[in-house]
């Protein structure tokens, strides 16, 4: 017999977990006591939301469920934003929370909160453990649920007395749930129909979403697109599936997307949505699209098909197997006319003016990406900085771009970058954020120092919650309220106070030199960029 807390650690080890992100407290102490005895590396975050975001970054790079931990009550509620953020982007997380003792549940005791209840609308599944003997099966199921089908966060809430119960431990080798059987293989009839539709289309277009990363189908996507000679746009979550300069690629579509991508969307006759959920920021009026084109929708989640857009050819299944079958079965096709039309739009890139004494963020990000190694991971935060990044940070072969797409959670970039760096220490990882969002996550500089990892941070300082300011300017008669960030500190001095190398850059003339410093440093580095406050998003 072993203590259930030890069993929890053994479950994690059986799943191959090497790193966990968390923050302790009384109700999770037995589990921490067992972590103390294990070789699992624990990263101490400085706020529980960041434990979730760091696990998210880690999960997105490894494409496996990653683990975050919080104590009961306030620890668990602090984690909620990260759980919801992961849910919106289908990121596989295992969220472990401590809970008050089973005999006290429901009595409103100290640090008691019904976290499975609170998180219910935005978890894939959750468990409140009432029988310690069930723990091994619950962990097995949780990892299976989080990492298969449409991925997502799974919450395991473990009362402190349960953690201290002695149980017989045996980790189940397999999992079988009679109620959960995700569809993996695509229906062959539908695959045939899609091939015919693409072969017959004059102006087909791929819209590639984040589901393709989750399926690990990056290679298969490119193979299919190249063989079928179909041009592609991506959603925000699908950014970096195609290198920016790929001849078939037209950029990000949608409200904050680029002209070439949106024109392609408007002018195509057949749209192949893959691992994309037709979110409102990507497709403003789905009915208009559906009326004018043939819509093909491929997704692992049957509920996404037909949810936001009427579909002509639906196909449920795993994008990886489906795309490789499509690549194999698609016949000889050419869409030369369509492609050359699109090539012209693509080359039509708008000029950016520069404002004296400031960094032009768009030009700066292009220069930055030119300098960084091709496999760099770039994480964008939320706001104008995010859109600047989406549309200007150039992705090279093997590069990766990540952001909080579905929720648009400010404060995501630095912790996500920390998680990504822990997962891929050999790769460069950059977080790009705004001065507002940086102040929601700057406590993680301490985590970076404690972990001695090299994360590069760009803070776009426009002294405003720029995106909201712009919204107030355009939509509310320029009545600016609660958007000025007066009172913000000197971020360079702040970073240095943590022991992180840091500099400020205010003119484009110095940009390359500062980028060089950031890129060539083997330590963490924060670069504060002075950006004109009225710089526009697009």
């Amino acid at each position: 017999m072993i203590r259930a807390a030890e069993a929890m650690v053994r479950c994690l080890r059986s799943e191959g977990v090497k790193v966990v992100f968390g923050y302790p407290g009384a109700a999770i102490c037995p589990f921490y006591d067992e972590l103390y005895r294990s070789d699992i590396h624990h990263v101490l975050v400085r706020h529980e939301a960041n434990a979730g975001h760091e696990a998210s970054g880690y999960a997105r790079i490894t494409n496996k469920p990653a683990v975050c931990i919080a104590t009961s009550g306030p620890g668990a509620t602090n984690l909620l934003t990260a759980i919801a953020t992961a849910y919106a982007d289908s990121i596989p997380l295992i969220c472990i929370t401590g809970q008050v003792s089973t005999d006290q549940i429901g009595c409103d005791v100290f640090q008691e909160v019904d976290i499975t209840g609170a998180a219910q609308p935005f978890v894939k599944h959750s468990y409140l453990v009432k029988d310690a003997a069930m723990l091994p099966r619950i962990f097995k199921e949780a990892f299976y649920l989080a990492g298969t089908g449409r991925k997502g966060p799974v919450l395991i809430d473990v009362p402190v007395d349960i953690q201290n119960t002695l149980i017989d431990f045996e980790y189940p080798e397999t999992v079988s749930m009679r109620t959960y059987k995700p569809t993996v293989k695509g229906n062959p009839m539908q695959i045939k129909k899609i091939c015919e539709a693409v072969e017959n289309a004059k102006r087909p277009l791929i819209c590639a979403g984040g589901g393709i990363f989750l399926a690990g189908a990056e290679k298969e996507l490119i193979e299919f697109a190249e063989k079928a000679k179909v041009p592609a746009v991506s959603t925000m979550m699908g950014l970096s599936l195609f290198p920016t300069d790929h001849p078939l690629y037209l950029g990000m579509l949608g409200m904050h997307g680029v002209k070439s991508a949106n024109r392609a969307v408007n002018e195509c006759d057949t749209m192949i949505l893959i691992g994309a959920r037709v979110g409102d920021r990507a497709v403003k009026s789905p009915t208009f699209l559906a009326e004018n084109k043939q819509i093909i929708h491929i997704d692992i989640d049957p509920a996404e098909i037909g949810k936001n857009i009427p579909v002509d050819i639906p196909l449920v299944g795993d994008c990886k197997t489906i795309l490789s079958e499509l690549a194999e079965k698609i016949g000889e096709v050419s869409h030369d006319e369509w492609l050359s039309e699109l090539a012209e739009i693509k080359n039509d890139i708008p000029e950016n003016e520069e404002t004296e004494g400031f960094i032009n963020p768009k030009v700066f990000l292009r220069k930055l990406s030119d300098r960084m190694p091709s496999d760099t991971v770039c994480v964008a935060d939320v706001g104008q900085n995010q859109i600047w990044c989406c549309n200007n940070y150039g992705i090279k072969e093997g590069g990766r771009f990540m952001t909080s797409g579905g929720m648009g959670t400010m404060g995501y970039s630095v912790p996500c970058a920390v998680g990504a760096k822990m997962a891929a220490p050999e790769r460069e990882v950059i977080a790009v954020c705004g001065d507002g969002s940086f102040q929601m996550q700057m406590m993680e500089l301490a985590t970076i120092m404690q972990e001695k990892i090299a994360v590069k941070i760009i803070v776009m300082r426009n002294n405003y919650l720029g995106m909201v300011r712009e919204l107030q300017t355009k939509g509310y008669g320029d009545r600016q309220i609660a958007v000025s960030l007066d009172g913000s500190p000197d971020f360079v001095a702040l970073a240095r106070a943590y022991g992180i190398e840091s500099e400020r850059v205010s003119t484009m003339a110095e940009a390359e030199e500062k980028i060089e410093k950031l890129a060539s440093s083997d330590k963490s580095y924060l670069l504060e960029c002075d950006v004109y406050s009225l710089e526009s998003t697009l």
């Binding site: 009679r178 109620t179 989640d301 049957p302 949810k307």
Partner: protein, 162 residues
């Protein structure tokens, strides 16, 4: 449009709140929800009557299917189902009205299960339409209280949802 949906779920703690939470979160309207164990105590059946267009009905079915505890979801077409609801009705009844009400109950297939000097308590189980008629018939006497279970439904013939 009304949709009758039969859902088989694992009989776990918290399942009902996941199901009802789904309806409120996605803005689906529930008319009634009835839940009970099946012949297998590990499985519960939830019968839901929901209101919405065809697209909503499809979404309800898909979203219910997505819940990890859901085993099976089936929307029953109106012409393939037998639906029943149980109601208990407490109605004012003076001694002189009793025999009238008794006749109504006999004709409508209801049963009197309790009685006081000036009330009768009636039990009736039937289709929603029939219950509405019963309600209209009793309304004139003064209905004091109605308790209803919500609709449960089963398919006609020998087919089953298992």
């Amino acid at each position: 449009m009304k949709h009758t949906i039969s859902v088989l779920v694992e009989n776990h703690a918290g399942v009902l709140s996941r199901v009802s939470g789904l309806f409120s979160r996605r803005g689906f309207n529930i008319d009634s929800l009835a839940v009970g164990e099946t012949d297998d105590p590990a499985i519960s059946r939830i019968t839901i009557v929901a209101d919405g267009d065809e697209h909503t009905a499809q979404q309800i079915e898909k979203q219910l299917n997505k819940l990890v505890d859901t085993m099976k979801v089936r929307t029953l077409a109106p012409d393939e189902l037998l639906a029943r609801e149980l109601q208990l009705i407490k109605v004012n009844a003076t001694p002189s009205q009793r025999s009238e009400i008794l006749t109504i109950c006999e004709i409508m297939g209801a049963k009197i299960i309790d009685m006081t000097a000036n009330t009768l308590t009636i039990e009736i189980s039937d289709s929603t339409v029939h219950l509405k008629r019963m309600h209209d018939l009793l309304e004139g006497y003064g209905i004091k209280e109605i308790v209803r279970t919500g609709v449960i439904a089963i398919q006609k013939g020998s087919v089953t949802i298992k």
